[in-house]
């Protein structure tokens, strides 16, 4: 599974929405479940799914699929 699909899957499971509602361009405003609580849940799930440690300062920037993909890519590059 590529990173985008794995991420869509993680978002769908964590926020309990159907997978098709999460597209490569989905952002927090598109999903009611992606509220502040959903965001924290998602941060935990991202850490555990992608084996990364996210600094608290980055939490609110990671509010869309493209932003998270970019973040994961930058970490992978490191």
């Amino acid at each position: 599974m590529n990173v985008i699909d794995q991420l869509r899957q993680t978002i769908a499971t964590t926020l309990k929405v159907p997978l098709e509602r999460v597209t490569p361009t989905t952002r927090d405003e598109d999903l009611a479940a992606w509220d502040s609580l959903g965001q924290v849940n998602l941060m935990m799930a991202l850490e555990q799914t992608f084996d990364v440690y996210i600094e608290v300062e980055d939490f609110e920037k990671l509010n869309s699929v493209p932003a998270i993909v970019g973040y994961l890519g930058s970490r992978d590059a490191r």
Binding site: T14, L37, Q39, V40, M44, A45, Q48, I54, V56, F59
Partner: protein, 632 residues
């Protein structure tokens, strides 16, 4: 300590919910959210179907993020968790009639409070306060807890669990903290002890959860994730969330499962390493060095479970003389003969031995927890007696001392004096059996035996000091119980306070000891000159001594003195109470056309106490109006 090489397949390869529960309990690494979801699905998929468990959470910090862990531990314990989160904050309005919390009809209400919710001064350092100020602060905190807990307890909120979150920060005085004249930790321990004492005496079905102990077992650094704490007011790491959620699920298990009463232990490779029949008393592993010291630590741990009111039994395939020699003579053996209330050391099938142990101890098989190291024995008992909870002792001795710590049914929500004295009571029971044998040898019968016991019964009228025990009797007594009505502590408190209800209990002493509170009768005095027997029950450990008759007649005498002339009673048959099928007819009750049992005290007056081999004393603890009528 964590074994970093633990294999995740151990979690996902199992084939039953019980095995999954055991695998998760033994899993020492933090579970990830995706793993938690997968385990929840697995646990839900295994039979039998999940039972609903209704939880309400009142919280002053974020609680929603606990949901995946709560759902997993509930599912592992066999529950489908239905969780209601109150609005964020100290939501006392949730204790008002018509609230969302009360509409949820929770089995458990969990209060998740922070320290500063108890008093605004706790947001600042307390180490600078003098003794008088600290004392005043402690009183104020206690009063606040009483107000919060009292508000919820006065409503039907189920079992109430109070938790107070420890501080994520290190002590104010750093490395000097334990040495200083004012220790925050000591102050908190004192406050918690005050809260617990108040809850024990005033607050039925309520418990203070020890969050400080949770923090010690997880470790403070491993308990708090400050990123989530400061960004979302959620304090816990995955490990802490899991440990906390497991405690909540444990409370559910204790509320909904038959109470564990007997811990049945295998001997070889469970109490000691090796096989005594082959290795001999010198050859078994039990002593100062590994692995013998781990077996000793396990035996020591078992004594802790005895302190929770469990009694111990031994069930071993061995020559009786070999095991007896270890129990008596091995210098490092901790559990001796007197610790076991019953033993089966023979070559019979274990299931057969367990059935006969249940008969000897007069308890149901579903109150047994059976511990054995052998795959074969565990599987055989699970198959033959599925009502028994089986715990397989781990293969490696190092894992043994803690292997029962995760068994939910070995925890307790309340401890009564009877629980603590239970082992001694079973020892008394053995001495009574010896007396029976002596009397028989001398040519005497049952009457001589009962006379020889020199029994003295104390009947207590409306004694609210016995609240916890009385509630426990209604919940635990299955066999000698006419109506099997269960009352939690709150309901029992209401019955004791009700002017139209007469709650009588009795304790029975004889030359061998005191049984504690073993019988309960609840009479409803709703109509003039008549009384209805709501509940009548007796613990099986005093059966066969005519105590039930002496108690019933003493209670009818009390009713007669209050002007009652007609008695009504019911017998509701269950799978377990066949023992009392003839009790009412044998005591002057006649079955009426309405299917209920009736007795007129005019035509069938109370029998005289002198007809029973029991001396009866009546004590009215709280209700002075009864005392004036009830002089023996």
């Amino acid at each position: 300590m964590v074994n970093p090489k633990a294999d995740p397949d151990a979690l996902f390869g199992v084939e039953s919910r019980a095995a999954l529960l055991a695998a998760v309990a033994g899993w020492r690494q933090p579970l990830t959210l995706p793993q938690v979801r997968r385990l929840t699905e697995m646990a839900t998929g295994f039979g039998p179907a999940l039972q609903p468990l209704r939880l309400a959470i009142v919280h002053t910090y974020t609680s929603d993020l606990l949901d995946p862990w709560l759902a997993m531990h509930a599912a592992l314990a066999g529950f489908d968790l239905q969780c209601h989160h109150a609005p964020h904050g100290l939501a006392l309005q949730e204790a008002q009639p018509g609230s969302g919390l009360l509409a949820h009809r929770p089995d458990i209400t969990l209060l998740m409070l922070r320290r500063e919710d108890l008093h605004p001064d706790l947001a600042a350092p307390i180490v600078g306060l003098d003794a008088k100020q600290l004392d005043a602060l402690r009183q104020a905190c206690l009063a606040q807890v009483q107000a919060i807990v009292g508000a919820f307890r006065s409503q039907a909120v189920g079992q109430l669990q109070l938790s107070i979150l420890p501080s994520p920060a290190a002590p104010a005085l750093g490395i000097y903290a334990a040495h200083g004249a004012c220790s925050e930790a000591a102050w908190w321990a004192g406050l918690q002890s005050d809260i617990a004492a108040w809850m024990r005496s005033e607050c039925p079905s309520s418990m203070l959860m020890d969050m400080d102990e949770l923090a010690r077992s997880v470790g403070r650094d491993a308990m708090f994730d400050l990123r989530f704490w400061f960004s979302a007011q959620f304090p816990f790491t995955a490990r802490a969330a899991s440990a906390f959620a497991r405690q909540v699920a444990t409370v559910g298990v204790l509320l909904k499962s038959p109470r564990a009463k007997v811990l049945v232990l295998d001997a070889d490779n469970t109490l000691w390493g090796g096989v005594v029949g082959e290795d001999g008393i010198q050859g078994i592993a039990l002593g100062q060095d590994y692995p013998g010291n781990a077996f000793r630590a396990f035996q020591r741990r078992i004594l802790d479970f005895q302190q929770r009111g469990l009694i111990l039994a031994l069930c071993s395939k061995n020559n009786a003389a070999d095991v007896e020699q270890v129990l008596r003579e091995h210098p490092h053996q901790i559990l001796r003969e007197q610790h076991f209330s019953a033993q089966r050391v023979n070559w019979l099938d274990k299931a057969e031995n367990l059935v006969s142990l249940a008969e000897e101890l007069n308890v149901d098989l579903d109150s047994f927890v059976f511990v054995d190291d052998s795959d074969h024995e565990c599987a055989a008992v699970r198959h033959a007696l599925p009502q028994i909870e089986v715990v397989q002792a781990p293969r490696r001795a190092v894992d043994l001392p803690g292997c029962l710590d995760h068994v939910a049914r070995l925890e307790v929500l309340a401890l009564t004096a009877e629980d603590l004295a239970k082992t001694e009571m079973y020892a008394q029971e053995r001495r009574r059996r010896d007396l029976v044998a002596d009397v028989q040898r001398a040519g005497g019968g049952h009457g001589e035996y009962l006379a020889g016991l020199q029994m003295c019964m104390q009947v207590n009228v409306g004694c609210s000091a016995h609240l916890a025990r009385l509630s426990q009797l209604t919940r635990k007594t299955n066999q000698f119980n006419l109506t099997t009505r269960r009352y939690d502590e709150q309901q029992m408190r209401a019955l004791l306070a009700d002017d139209d209800t007469l709650v009588l209990d009795f304790s029975l002493a004889d030359r061998f000891g005191d049984s504690g509170i073993v019988g309960l009768a609840i009479w409803r005095l709703n109509a003039p000159a008549s009384a209805e027997l709501d509940s009548f029950m007796m613990s099986c450990r005093v059966i066969g001594r005519q105590a039930e008759s002496a108690f019933l007649e003493a209670s009818t005498r009390l009713l007669g003195e209050r002007g009652v002339q007609a008695l009504v009673a019911d017998h509701f048959p269950t799978a377990k109470n066949a023992l009392v099928a003839r009790f009412l007819p044998e005591h002057g009750f006649e079955r009426g056309a309405d299917g209920r049992y009736h007795r007129s005290l005019r035509s069938r007056p109370p029998r005289s106490p002198s007809e029973f081999p029991v001396e009866v004393r009546v004590i009215a603890a709280d209700r002075l109006d009864v005392l004036t009528n009830a002089a023996p």
